[in-house]
């Protein structure tokens, strides 16, 4: 699906979320010059095409009591990383699972997962159990807990820099 300028305008308007209004698609459309049914059709198409991965309530883990946030990074041989990624991506403990490039010598890790929990001990225990269950305990890994959150918001897409300024 080729995104049009109108799609991009809609995506930019949606970055702040839907207005909490009885007719949110109508209100959103008013900002970008689309009617309600066109907004709904565009969002249906973007969902169908996999451009929108999820439409709904987006929560903040920390405020919900999930105070421990760990980025678990794994060094998995390239030939095995696809299978390991599929296993971890489907694990109930994991909220994100991405393959990323290694940056040797400082950074040998090629698989990134996020695990949230109520406290550090719970998260460490969950990671240990998951690594064993998925047959990945023998691969080098590191757990990087977050110590401070400086910024958290939705990504801003659809607007070019010069237009945003």
């Amino acid at each position: 699906m080729e995104l049009s300028d109108r799609d991009h305008a809609l995506i930019a308007a949606l970055c702040d979320g839907l207005p909490l209004d009885r007719r949110p698609y109508k209100a959103l459309g008013e900002r970008v010059g689309m009617c309600e049914s066109e907004v709904i059709r565009c969002l249906e198409a973007m969902t169908r095409e996999g451009i929108i991965r999820r439409l709904g309530v987006i929560v903040r883990h920390h405020e919900l009591g999930y105070r421990a946030n760990a980025m678990v990074v794994w060094d998995i041989p390239d030939a095995e990383v696809g299978e390991a990624g599929r296993r971890l991506g489907g694990a109930p403990e994991v909220t994100l699972c991405y393959r990323r490039p290694r940056r040797p010598p400082d950074w040998p890790y090629n698989l990134f997962t996020m695990v949230h929990g109520r406290d550090r001990d719970a998260v460490l225990a969950a990671i240990e159990a998951m690594a064993g269950r998925e047959g990945l305990a023998h691969h080098p890994r590191q757990v990087l807990f977050s110590l401070r959150r400086f910024k958290q918001c939705g990504a801003r897409y659809g607007k070019r820099r010069e237009a945003a300024e």
Binding site: P24, R54, G56, E63, L64, L96, Y98
Partner: protein
């Protein structure tokens, strides 16, 4: 404090939000509450920070470009450099983590060139190397966050 009705609202509407003219009325019907109450609860959850927004998560790289970046910042400069990084509108997450690479942030923009320009700008303003770790493959099926209430 959030109550059971809030939890149901959060647990059940993280995905497949109704694409109908009055979606909050539909949610209200499924939860057995009034539309006005759903809107009030969501507004309160947003004000308290439990909810970031009701909206879309875009699939990385299908709309625009993004990367995960990491820097090894001397501890005494961390706050200043974190503030400098957070000030970019393209930066949407910025965390201190317990590693020599202690500052981790996500940069998202319309094009990969714009993402790289932000990384280069941060590197040149701070004099600290910025590791660029773009996504190569996404293994996770995102159904939102599992609200496991115990």
């Amino acid at each position: 404090m959030i109550d059971d009705a809030d939890r149901r609202l959060l647990a059940e509407f993280q995905h497949d939000f109704p694409l109908v003219p009055e979606p909050f009325a539909e949610l209200a019907g499924r939860l057995g509450m009034g539309e006005g109450e759903v809107l009030e609860r969501l507004a309160a959850l947003k004000a308290s920070g439990h909810v970031s927004r009701v909206g879309a998560v875009f699939t990385p790289h299908k709309v625009g470009a993004s990367t995960l970046a990491a820097m090894a910042v001397p501890p005494e400069w961390l706050e200043r450099i974190a503030d400098l990084v957070s000030a970019y509108p393209e930066v949407n997450h910025n965390y201190q983590r317990d590693h020599r690479l202690n500052l981790w942030f996500v940069v998202a923009a319309t094009t990969r060139d714009e993402v790289l320009a932000v990384l280069e700008d941060i590197a040149s303003r701070t004099g600290i190397e910025v590791l660029d770790l773009p996504l190569l493959e996404d293994f996770h099926i995102d159904l939102g966050f599992d609200i496991r209430w115990s």
